[in-house]
C-alpha cells in the first residue's frame, strides 16, 4: 500500500482539464472548418494546416531551446494555429501563414512566459503582424481571385463591397447566413459559427458574457448607424458579415486574454463590440475585429482591477 498525502480537496473534477478545454473549442470549430473546406477547398486545408503545423513547431522549439518541459499536449498552441488559419484570407501567399504562426506563438505567447501569461490573443498578434507587414497580401484585394473556378472567390468580400459602393451589391441575407460569400476562411458562415458557439456556451467553455456583450453593443450601434445613415449596412448585414460573429464567439472568448470575473467579461465584450463597429464604420479598414480584440486585451488588467467582486458578506472589516 502506498498512501499519499496532500492538501484538501482530495477530489477534483476529472472532466475538466486544460487540454479538454482547448479540444472543446476545436470541436466547436468543426462546423466552421467543414464549411470552409466546402467553400475554399484546398485553399483552406493549406492555410489551416500550415498555421497549426508552424504553431506547434514554434512552441516545441521554444520549449526545447529554453529547456522547459514540452507543453504541446495542452493543445493550446494547436488551437491558436487553427483560429489564426481561420482568420486569414484563403488567397494569402504561403509565407503569410508561416510568419503569422511563428509570430503568434513567439511574440504573442512565449515571450510572455507561455500559456496563461500572455496579455494579447496570440492568434490576433500573429495576424496583426502580417497585416501590418504585408498589407498587400492581406488587404481587400487579396480576397479577390478573378480566375478562380468557384464564383464565390471572384467577388469582393461583402464588407469591402459595402465600403466601396454604398451597399448596392451587398449579398442578401441567406448567402451571408449560410456562408457562400467571400471572406476570411472561417468567417463566412453565420450558421456554422452560431452552431459551434452554442456548443461552447452549453459546455461553458466560453463565458457567455463575452459574445453577449459583443453582440449587444454591435446591435445597438448598428441600429444607431443604420437609422442615422452613417453606415450603409443594416444591422443584420453587419452582424452576419465579416468576422464579427467569429470574433465574438471564438476570438474574444480566449480565456487567457479576457477578464476573469463575469462583470469584467461583460465590459470586455461590450468594449470589443463597440470598437468593431467604430473601426468598421470610421476607419479605412473594412473590418475591425482584430484591432478591437487587441485594443481591449490591453485594458484587461484595468478591467480586472475595476471588477474585483465584493465577497458575499461584504469586505473584510478593518482591524480596530
Amino acid at each position: 500500500m502506498n498512501v499519499s498525502v496532500a492538501s484538501s480537496p482530495h477530489f477534483s473534477n476529472t472532466t475538466t482539464s486544460t487540454q479538454r478545454m482547448m479540444i472543446d473549442v476545436m470541436i466547436a470549430l468543426i462546423p466552421v472548418v467543414a464549411l470552409s473546406l466546402w467553400v475554399f477547398r484546398w485553399h483552406a486545408i493549406v492555410q489551416i494546416g500550415l498555421c497549426m503545423l508552424v504553431c506547434a513547431l514554434t512552441e516545441s522549439a521554444w520549449k526545447k531551446l529554453s529547456g522547459k518541459p514540452a507543453s504541446i499536449a495542452d493543445a493550446s498552441g494547436l488551437l491558436t494555429g487553427l483560429i489564426l488559419g481561420l482568420s486569414l484570407p484563403w488567397s494569402a501567399p504561403l509565407y503569410v501563414p508561416i510568419i503569422a504562426s511563428f509570430m503568434a506563438i513567439a511574440l504573442g505567447k512565449m515571450v510572455f512566459g507561455g500559456l496563461g501569461m500572455n496579455l494579447f490573443n496570440p492568434a490576433m498578434v500573429g495576424r496583426a503582424f502580417v497585416m501590418l507587414s504585408f498589407a498587400g497580401a492581406l488587404g481587400a484585394s487579396a480576397y479577390v481571385y478573378p480566375d478562380a473556378s468557384s464564383t464565390i472567390l471572384t467577388q469582393a468580400t461583402p464588407l469591402t463591397l459595402a465600403k466601396e459602393s454604398a451597399g448596392a451589391s451587398m449579398p442578401g441575407f441567406w448567402p451571408l447566413f449560410l456562408g457562400t460569400t467571400n471572406g476570411s476562411i472561417g468567417e463566412t458562415s453565420a450558421l456554422a459559427i452560431l452552431t459551434g458557439g452554442a456548443y461552447l456556451l452549453v459546455r461553458r467553455t466560453a463565458a457567455w458574457q463575452i459574445p453577449a456583450g459583443v453582440l449587444a453593443s454591435c446591435i445597438v450601434l448598428g441600429l444607431i448607424f443604420e437609422f442615422t445613415g452613417i453606415s450603409n449596412l443594416n444591422v443584420i448585414q453587419h452582424l452576419a458579415s465579416g468576422s464579427l460573429l467569429f470574433g465574438a464567439f471564438f476570438i474574444a472568448t480566449d480565456p487567457v486574454s479576457s477578464p476573469l470575473a463575469p462583470k469584467g467579461r461583460l465590459i470586455f465584450g461590450l468594449g470589443v463590440g463597440t470598437l468593431i463597429m467604430i473601426l468598421r464604420v470610421f476607419s479605412s479598414y473594412p473590418e475591425g475585429v482584430m484591432f478591437a480584440v487587441l485594443l481591449m486585451n490591453a485594458v484587461v488588467p484595468l478591467i480586472n482591477r475595476w471588477t474585483i467582486p465584493t465577497p458575499i458578506g461584504g469586505p473584510i472589516p478593518a482591524k480596530p
Partner: protein, 453 residues
C-alpha cells in the same frame, strides 16, 4: 406504517454557485450505526476543538469511569474532555493530529469490564424516550450543561457549542438552524443519525431553542436524503419545527452557504451567524445536547463514517473518542490493496493521514479512503485564466488571483482580493482545469498575510 409525504411540491433552497461533486453516499448510507467494541486503549488529545487546549485535571494512573472529566476548559473558547472508556490513565504523550498540530494526549487503558458496551451503549446513545419538558429546564443552565458535557460542533469545525448557546440580550437570536445537510461526498454519519434517532435531534433542537430564545427552528436537509427528510417530518408531527429541503450541492452545509440558502442572509465577512441573529448547530451536536440534558451523558463517543472504495466493509460506527484510526479501520475489514489516500473527514475539506495511530476526535466526522481513481493525479498546467474558479466560488472571490498573489507573496494583492474571506471550501480547486492547488496556495496566502501585516 408511516404515510409518505410528497416532497415534490416542497420548495427547495440553495445558494449561488458552488459545485456538484459525485456523492458516493452509497458506500455507507445503508449501514446501520454499529458500536465499535471497546478498544484496549484510547488516547484523548487535549485539543479537539477550536480555541484553547483543555487543562488536565487528573493524575496519571488514576482510575476513571466513562464520562469522568479528565481535562477542563482552558478558556472561554475551549471545553471539557471526558474519559471515553472506563480504565486507568497513563502518562501524557504527544501526538500529531491530522491537521498537523502536535498536542498532548491522555491515554486511558480500558478495563476488561465496561459498564456501557455494545447494544446497551447504542440504546443509551440513540434509543429510548426523548420527551423533553422545557418548563423544568432553566434556559440559562443549558449553555453550562454544554460546557460541562464538552460539546463542540460535530460537523467538523469543532467550535465549542456552549458559546453559541449563551443568551445575549443585546443580540437577540431569531433563527435556529439545525444542519443536517452533510454535503461532503461519502459521509453518512448525520444521515444515519437522522434515520435512527430523529427524536434525539428534535429534543436537542427544542433545548437549544430554549437556550437561545430563537423563535424559529429550521432543520435543513439535502434532497439526496429523502428518507431522512421523511423521518424527520414524521418525528416532528405537529410540533412547531420546519424541515427545509436543500438542493444537494457542495458546500450546502457550510454555515455561510446554509444561512444564505435557508434565510437569504449573508453572514458578514469575518463574522458569525450570531451577527445576523442566527445560531447554526449540526444534527449531531443537538443530539449530544439532548443526551447531556436528558440523560446526563457527556460527549464521549461520536458517530464516524468509515467509507470509500479503499475500505473493505464501509460502516457507520459509534466510536469512543481517542480510538486510533487503525483500530477503527481494522473493525471495518481493513484497507484494500488499492487504497491510495486516507482522509480524516470527507474528500473536500478533510486532512490526509499517513499515521494510523492518530485518534478519532470530537471533530472526526468520517474516515474516507480513496483509491488512485478518485484522486485526480493529472499534472498541473499553467492557469489559463478561464475563470471557472471565479464562477464556482460561493463567496464571490477570485481564487486564481489569490493563489498567484500567495505564490509570489504579493501582500497588497492578497488583501485587495480579500484573502481572509476564503472559507477553504475547495470548490475552486475542484473545478480548476489546470489542476492548480488553489486552496493550498490560498491557505499559505492567509498565513503570509497574518504574519506580514
Amino acid at each position: 406504517m408511516k404515510a409518505a409525504i410528497s416532497l415534490k411540491n416542497l420548495p427547495k433552497f440553495t445558494f449561488r454557485k458552488g459545485i456538484h461533486p459525485p456523492e458516493y453516499k452509497s458506500y455507507a448510507e445503508h449501514q446501520a450505526i454499529e458500536v465499535l467494541p471497546t478498544p484496549d486503549t484510547v488516547r484523548i488529545p487535549l485539543l479537539q476543538h477550536l480555541g484553547a487546549p483543555a487543562k488536565v485535571s487528573i493524575e496519571p494512573r488514576a482510575a476513571v469511569k466513562v464520562g469522568d472529566i479528565i481535562a477542563e476548559s482552558g478558556g472561554f473558547i475551549s471545553t471539557n474532555l471526558h474519559a471515553s472508556v472506563s480504565g486507568k490513565t497513563a502518562r501524557e504523550g504527544i501526538i500529531t493530529l491530522p491537521n498537523g498540530r502536535r498536542v498532548t494526549t491522555i491515554p486511558i487503558k480500558a478495563d476488561p469490564e465496561q459498564e456501557l458496551e455494545g447494544d446497551a451503549l447504542k440504546q443509551a446513545f440513540l434509543g429510548g424516550d426523548w420527551n423533553v419538558n422545557l418548563d423544568e429546564i432553566d434556559a440559562s443552565s443549558i449553555s453550562k450543561a454544554a460546557l460541562q458535557a464538552g460539546i463542540v460542533g460535530m460537523g467538523g469545525a469543532a467550535f465549542p457549542s456552549h458559546v453559541k448557546l449563551m443568551r445575549n440580550d443585546d443580540r437577540p437570536i431569531t433563527d435556529l438552524i439545525i444542519n443536517g445537510c452533510e454535503c461532503e461526498p461519502f459521509l453518512t454519519a448525520d444521515h444515519r443519525l437522522m434515520l435512527e434517532s430523529p427524536q434525539s435531534i428534535l429534543a436537542g433542537a427544542l433545548i437549544a431553542r430554549h437556550a437561545t430564545g430563537a423563535t424559529r427552528i429550521s432543520i435543513c436537509i439535502e434532497d439526496n436524503k429523502p428518507d431522512a427528510i421523511q423521518t424527520m417530518i414524521h418525528a416532528i408531527g405537529d410540533r412547531d419545527i420546519d424541515v427545509k429541503i436543500m438542493r444537494s450541492k457542495y458546500p450546502q452545509g457550510g454555515e455561510k452557504s446554509l444561512v444564505m440558502a435557508a434565510l437569504g442572509k449573508a453572514i458578514p465577512t469575518g463574522g458569525l451567524p450570531l451577527d445576523v441573529g442566527v445560531v447554526v448547530l449540526n444534527v449531531g451536536t443537538v443530539a449530544s445536547l439532548a443526551r447531556m440534558v436528558l440523560r446526563g451523558m457527556p460527549l464521549t463517543h461520536r458517530i464516524v463514517t468509515v467509507t470509500g472504495p479503499g475500505v473493505v466493509h464501509p460502516k457507520n460506527l459509534l466510536v469512543p473518542i481517542g480510538t486510533d484510526f487503525e483500530t477503527v479501520l481494522q473493525y471495518c475489514g481493513g484497507l484494500k490493496e488499492e487504497a491510495a489516500r486516507i482522509i480524516a473527514g470527507g474528500p473536500m475539506m478533510g486532512f490526509s493521514v499517513t499515521d494510523l495511530s492518530t485518534p478519532v476526535t470530537k471533530g472526526t466526522s468520517g474516515i474516507t479512503v480513496l483509491t488512485a481513481k478518485e484522486l485526480n493525479a493529472a499534472a498541473t498546467t499553467a492557469c489559463v485564466r478561464c475563470g471557472l474558479c471565479v464562477d464556482t466560488c460561493p463567496l464571490d472571490l477570485v481564487p486564481t488571483k489569490l493563489a498567484m498573489a500567495a505564490r509570489y507573496k504579493h501582500l497588497e494583492v492578497l488583501q485587495r482580493y480579500h484573502v481572509d474571506a476564503c472559507m477553504e471550501c475547495g470548490c475552486c480547486a475542484y473545478q480548476c482545469p489546470a489542476n492548480i492547488p488553489l486552496v493550498q496556495l490560498i491557505r499559505a496566502g492567509k498565513i503570509y498575510n497574518r504574519t506580514h501585516s
